[in-house]
């Protein structure tokens, strides 16, 4: 086994509770995004495009679909002879049964052996829940230049939102002097993106230390980083400029999808030097019919559009019948939208069959999410899932 300079550990066990029924049977990183992707495609493509070829993916919640989506990593060029993508589930023992990772730090702790076999200098800890294109190799360069013990990637957030994040206070050289996890009174607006680089030998020591602490929640933000700061480790902030979003809620998921339609979006999917890689199902090209109207939208292979679409994102194989109109919405794969259906400000779940004439969502209403449990007047099911 040859050495690797960096090993990436990708936390992909998120339940995504606030994504409601979208994560009822899939882990959050596997939620469809952007017309043809799944959320985890962003971080995996980031690794591949940054030249990191060894990625451990830590799964736990509803891993079946995610596992089969990831396979051996070939869609992200991570099917490598040495290293590559490896799925690291918490596993079941006969006597003790199984249990989930106790926290983000515990997840890495439990896989120390996996990391050790590559004798890395650095470990990159990332999360599979975020939408962003980032060249981790630049962050690693900074980390090396600073001779840091750890580097945390940060992004400027609007001040009023700062209290939702872990906030960094840095000196003039970007060295972190103070870290507040979701502070009520944030001292500034530099939020942690949950992207960490650590010197592996040092991190290993802290992980072991943390594991011994019974009261610890075994979390990077709550335990490891504060402990490192207390002990005067040199932690640096690396400021990221660009699009970054934690799609943790139905609203933010909807918003991030529609952000892609903005011509000035900082998130460029067409950059041939930073290809967003994904599993590509084989589908015929889309057909736009004689009575169709499509504007300000992204539409994927396999769609058949006979209605009108405005400011919306349509995934694989969506069919929109005559007279239907879709506005400010996200339509997940293989949904069938019946005649004269009106959809606005909604997310329509995978495989939904929306009966003729139905109206969903309204111009000034909240974001509607249509899934298997949604019903229409008198409990008639609105979502008829024909796919197995």
């Amino acid at each position: 086994m040859s050495r690797k300079e960096v090993v990436a550990m990708l936390l992909a066990g998120g339940e995504g509770k606030r994504l409601s029924n979208l994560t009822k049977s899939v882990a959050k990183p596997a939620v469809p995004f952007g017309g043809k992707y799944r959320i985890i495609d962003f971080t995996l493509s980031n690794c591949a495009n940054s030249g990191i070829d060894t990625v451990g993916v830590l799964t736990q919640y509803e891993p079946l679909l995610l596992n089969s989506y990831l396979g051996v990593g070939a869609p992200w060029d991570l099917d490598r002879k040495c290293g590559g993508l490896k799925i690291l589930p918490p596993y079941v023992q006969k006597q003790q049964g199984g249990r989930w990772y106790k926290g983000t730090a515990n997840a890495i702790y439990e896989n120390i052996c996996f990391i050790e076999q590559y004798e890395p200098d650095y470990v990159l800890v990332i999360s599979g829940d975020h939408i962003y294109n980032m060249d981790y190799s630049k962050m690693l360069e900074e980390h090396e230049k600073n001779k840091a013990d750890g580097t945390i990637s940060v992004i400027q957030v609007p001040c009023q939102e700062a209290s939702r994040f872990g906030i960094m206070n840095t000196d003039d050289h970007n060295r972190i002097i103070d870290f507040q996890e979701k502070p009520e009174q944030p001292k500034n607006n530099l939020a942690s993106m949950g992207v960490y680089v650590f010197n592996w030998s040092l991190l290993k020591r802290y992980l072991k230390e943390d594991e011994k602490t019974a009261t610890s929640s075994n979390d990077f933000g709550k335990d490891i980083i504060p402990m490192m700061l207390r002990e005067n480790c040199s932690l640096y902030a690396y400021q990221f400029e660009g699009y970054w979003k934690d799609v943790g809620t139905v609203e933010s998921l909807w918003e991030a999808n529609l952000d892609l339609l903005d011509d000035d979006s900082a998130l460029n999917l067409k950059n041939s030097n930073w290809r967003l890689k994904s599993v590509n199902p084989n589908m015929p090209p889309q057909y736009v019919g004689k009575e169709a109207k499509v504007s300000r939208s992204m539409v994927n292979d396999g769609c058949i559009i006979n209605g009108s679409i405005d400011h919306s994102v349509l995934f694989y194989g969506v069919e929109v019948d005559v007279g239907a109109s879709i506005k400010d919405s996200v339509i997940m794969p293989h949904a069938k939208i019946g005649r004269n259906v009106k959809i606005e400000r909604s997310i329509i779940g995978e495989g939904a069959i929306i009966p003729d004439g139905v109206t969903i969502g309204q111009h000034d209403g909240p974001i509607e999410l249509i899934d298997q449990t949604s019903t229409y007047k008198n409990d008639i099911p609105l979502f008829v899932n024909e796919r197995r």
Partner: protein
């Protein structure tokens, strides 16, 4: 479950009628239907018919075909020992000489474990299940089985055949027969090898042999009643692509359970801007549509800029149609750049072809 058939696709024959589109690629790798290459159809049909050892004999200008097919993975043909094999013809061979190129690679045929061969000559667009053909061949005990169709008005390029009442083919030379051969043959591999070895000097192709043999061998027909296209000219190419805009034909290959495989790419979904107007069009991923598109087919990565109009046209991969340019009845090959305000016009019977990587018009600075 297991299939005992070796697939052979011989696309070595060139067609000068198509020269404007095939000067820098072979016929079999002509882009088709917004996303495919012509080879995808016969190849996918073979794969769905559970044939998993397939040899493609190509003309010397095979690089585009080769780049398209890669390891065969996207056609589910990546196997450790079998799978997809590509044998390019040396440029010194005669264009029509099928047998000598087969003879050159006879060791591949001899080493393969299959008992039967299914041979397809030429580049047909069809989505056919070969399993009933193979089944009929084995059950009938025929020496050769030939797939044929009942001809339609514009089917002028099929070899006419005549048959007796038991579907035995009695002649390949008849004219004005209602039946045309699709030049798809099933036979025992040993017999095929023998035929190549004994006839390589005398005849140029299997069809030649069948045409000229004394017909003591038993040749049976198998009727195919599905949709099939044989593209022999620029007009054919234009017409058959345009037919896909008719939902009937679209269904024939879009919605059949046996999908047509093609090379998969990491292209983002197509993007439509506020100013786009699109009617009756097939549009592939990676396109950006800011202008008007009507009765047209856009391949992957085409950019139709603001104010441009693409009408009754076919635009291949990564071509750019500049602001306010107008196309009507045009076939725009790959990576063409049309500058703003240019007009390109053709008719269905004489579509205007703009060749690969051409730059049309002058930049106005």
């Amino acid at each position: 479950m297991k299939n005992n058939v070796l697939g052979i696709i011989n696309v070595t024959q060139e067609n000068h009628e198509l020269h404007a589109l095939t000067a820098r690629r072979c016929h079999a790798s002509l882009p088709y239907g917004g996303r495919y290459r012509i080879i995808d159809f016969i190849l996918s049909s073979m794969v769905h018919s559970k044939i998993r050892n397939i040899a493609i004999f190509t003309p010397p200008n095979y690089r585009s075909l080769f780049d398209h097919l890669g390891s065969g993975k996207d056609w589910d043909l990546e196997y450790k020992q079998e799978g997809l094999f590509i044998f390019p013809k040396n440029s010194t061979f005669d264009n029509r000489d099928d047998f000598s190129v087969l003879n050159q690679h006879i060791d591949y045929l001899e080493k393969s474990r299959q008992e039967y061969v299914l041979i397809s000559f030429g580049s047909l667009v069809m989505n056919i299940d070969f399993q009933p053909v193979i089944k009929q061949h084995i059950q009938s005990g025929a020496d050769v089985t030939v797939v044929y169709k009942e001809k339609e008005v514009h089917d002028v390029s099929f070899t006419d055949i005549t048959m007796d009442d038991f579907q035995n083919i009695t002649s390949f030379n008849e004219t004005d027969s209602p039946y045309g051969s699709l030049d798809i043959f099933v036979m025992k591999k040993d017999k095929f090898i023998e035929s190549i070895k004994t006839n390589a000097n005398k005849y140029r192709s299997l069809l030649d042999v069948l045409k000229n043999c004394d017909l003591t061998c038993n040749i049976k027909g198998y009727e195919y009643d599905g949709y099939v296209q044989k593209i022999n000219s620029i007009q054919d190419y234009y017409r058959y692509n345009m037919e896909l805009l008719d939902p009937y034909f679209l269904n024939e290959w879009l919605l059949k359970p046996n999908e047509i495989y093609t090379k998969l790419k990491d292209e983002p979904p197509a993007k439509y801007s506020a100013s786009s107007e699109v009617k009756n069009a097939i549009i592939a991923n990676g396109c950006v549509v800011e202008g008007n598109v009507e009765n047209s087919i856009l391949f992957r990565g085409v950019h139709v800029k603001k104010g441009a109009t693409v009408k009754n046209s076919i635009v291949m991969q990564k071509s750019q149609i500049g602001e306010n340019a107008e196309l009507d009845g045009a076939i725009i090959d790959k990576e063409v750049v049309i500058f703003p305000y240019e007009h390109i016009e053709g008719t269905p019977n004489n579509p205007k072809v703009v060749t690969k990587q051409k730059i049309v018009g002058e930049q106005i600075i």
